[in-house]
Amino acid sequence: MIKLEGGFVKNLGKVYSIYTLGFLGFVILMAILEWSGVSNTMIGWLFVAFTVLIYALIGVLSRTMDTGQYYVAGREVPAVYNGMATAADWMSGASFIAMAGGIYLKGYPYMAFLVGWTGGYVLVASLIAPYLRKFGCYTVPDFIGTRYGGNLARFCAVFILVIASFTYVTAQINGTGTVASRALQIPFEVGVWIGLSGILFCSMLGGMRAVTWTQVAQYIVLIVAYLIPVFWMSNKLGYGLIPHLAQFDAVARVQELEAALGVKQLMPTAEAQAAAGKLSSLKVGINDASSSAMAKWKFFTLVLCMMAGTASLPHVIMRYFTTSSVKAARQSVGFSLLFICLLYLTAPALATFTKLSLLDPNVATSIIGKSIASVNNLEWIQQWSNVGFLKVIDGNNDGILQINEFFMRGDIVVLATPEMAGLPYVISGLVAAGGLAAAMSTADGLLLAIANALSHDLYYKIIDPKANTKTRLIVARILLLIIGIAGAFVASLKLTSILGAVAWAFCFANSGLFFPLILGVWWKRANRAGAIAGMIGGFGSGALYLYMVQFAGMEPWIGIDGLRFGMIGMPVSLILMVVVSLMTEEPDKATQDMVDQIRVAKGKPLLDNEH
């Protein structure tokens, strides 16, 4: 091992520079292996094995039996590195695998996710994170339980956290299964369990400390894997060196092509759509900002739900408990957003360039307007239709592929782009490693959030307050294992799509936790009865509405569908919390003083390390 004077945290720059160079060296080595004739499957295996082994190694090296280290990484993570870890924690399979494909298939309305998932951090920075850091809690229910007092408030918060995070984590384990099965050519179910064992290795021994340092490593892999193909395509298609600047000419060209090819006019025939099942053809343009009030309202509500969800998802908020100070927590939110934007600013460019390479007849890789027979002969078309990701159906039997005859799953835009654009296989291996890193890092954070809430809040604070440190940490690890296995089991049933499950998780979180968290800091008058009413009423009404719309066949009210049910849960939560608080007694003096203290950065945290 390299000798580190002054310990690991003082040498982060050095450690991660060496790591990044090592990873780039590994990519070059894989390129040489491919060139010298090593098979694609072998390269896929090497990419996955190498990266997962590194993460597991970091996990083992960070093992700890100290509660402060286990729950909040010793509160010594510098703002920049916490920003990277948060970015990896945040960007899941949905961001890495599904986002660009969503923009490709669903066009401008889908970009509400980009706005919502970045703008939410303004709320995190200004309303929540610094105050909860000052508070000194280990988990989000820890704040709710202490601020409002009583086991019932704590239990409600634990319950909502578990439902929201578990919904989210099954989607991530599903993502690891998808990527692993594609890259390693193994059955999806086996891929799920391989992904899970990697995830558990990272988090079981070292808790938050291990997850933090693994997530930094995973961020580096995923951002390299996301950026390289886009830069490559932008240059290959001749639009310019930097895709972020070059994409606007490409958008103009795509809009021309979409009009010419009949996007929005040509819909698939009923039989073709039935044969394609859940796969979808292109129906909305890349820049179709509609002038209808309904379209605007749907954009607005999706942005709002995703923003409020960002500010209430415990696995994100708890990352800011690991910084060394309140000031560092605030800055760290800025760095998180910066690192997230590196990927989010690239996603629309990726969608646009992919569209161009499939639609533009002047580009060699284009398929629309070509004969069905020649398209079916392409290697990537065959491979991805074999695994059910795309389908070519000649609806009007003219032997030519039209825009409404090409059906696909959105995920393919990221995963298959290297093959569509004719890049070497080493790039596909890199993208697979990146997708795996994105899904694993988020699953790590989510599993930890659930296990910590159950071990700290449910077991230690509610069931057995006399438990000693060792027992608590052992309980935390056993719970982590059980929840991980349960998550993998549910994921292997493939109940929902990745994106559907993610949007639900956001709405569960904002329906139940958004107002109790914010008003806990910003409204001294908020009391226990109000918070409990807000949590139960908000979460309950949101969940009921979701059930009615999604499973009981109810017609959504004014466009509020299953992705946006926070629009029902949040107002109910706010109204109940305010009304019930005002109808009951105001909180005691000690609680009000506590709120005063979390509003200033100076002074000791309200909860100490042994709480």
Binding site: E76, Y108, M111, A112, L114, V115, G116, T118, G119, Y121, V122, L123, A125, S126, L127, P130, H244, F248, V251, A252, Q255, I286, N287, A289, S290, S291, K296, F299, F300, V303, L304, M307, S324, S325, V326, K327, R330, Q331, V333, G334, L337, L338, C341, Y344, L345, A347, P348, A349, D596, R599, V600, A601, K602
Partner: protein, 88 residues
């Protein structure tokens, strides 16, 4: 807390914090909601304005806003002597 100077200082700090937070949220609402409500008007034949604001403009605005907020809040804390002790 009695009517001493500590309490005045505390109230002054909280008042400034609240107004900074309000300004931050107004800018946030502008880039998060107002701009996109008029997305269709931003598009012209020469530039895809709606695509730009959702795919790039708002995101950059949010990132700058968070850094600006953090530095302003730190200044307020220092002005009132409420910044944390530098020990680590």
């Amino acid at each position: 807390m009695g009517g001493n100077t500590m309490s005045n200082k505390y109230d002054g700090h909280w008042k400034r914090t609240k107004s900074l937070t309000t300004i931050t949220l107004v800018i946030w609402a502008f880039f998060g909601f107002a701009v996109h409500w008029f997305g269709d008007l931003l598009n012209s034949s020469s530039f895809p304005g709606a695509y730009y604001m959702a795919g790039q403009g708002s995101q950059i605005a949010f990132a700058l806003l968070v850094f600006w907020f953090a530095s302003r809040q730190n200044k307020i804390d220092e002005e009132f002597g409420f910044q944390e002790d530098e020990e680590k």
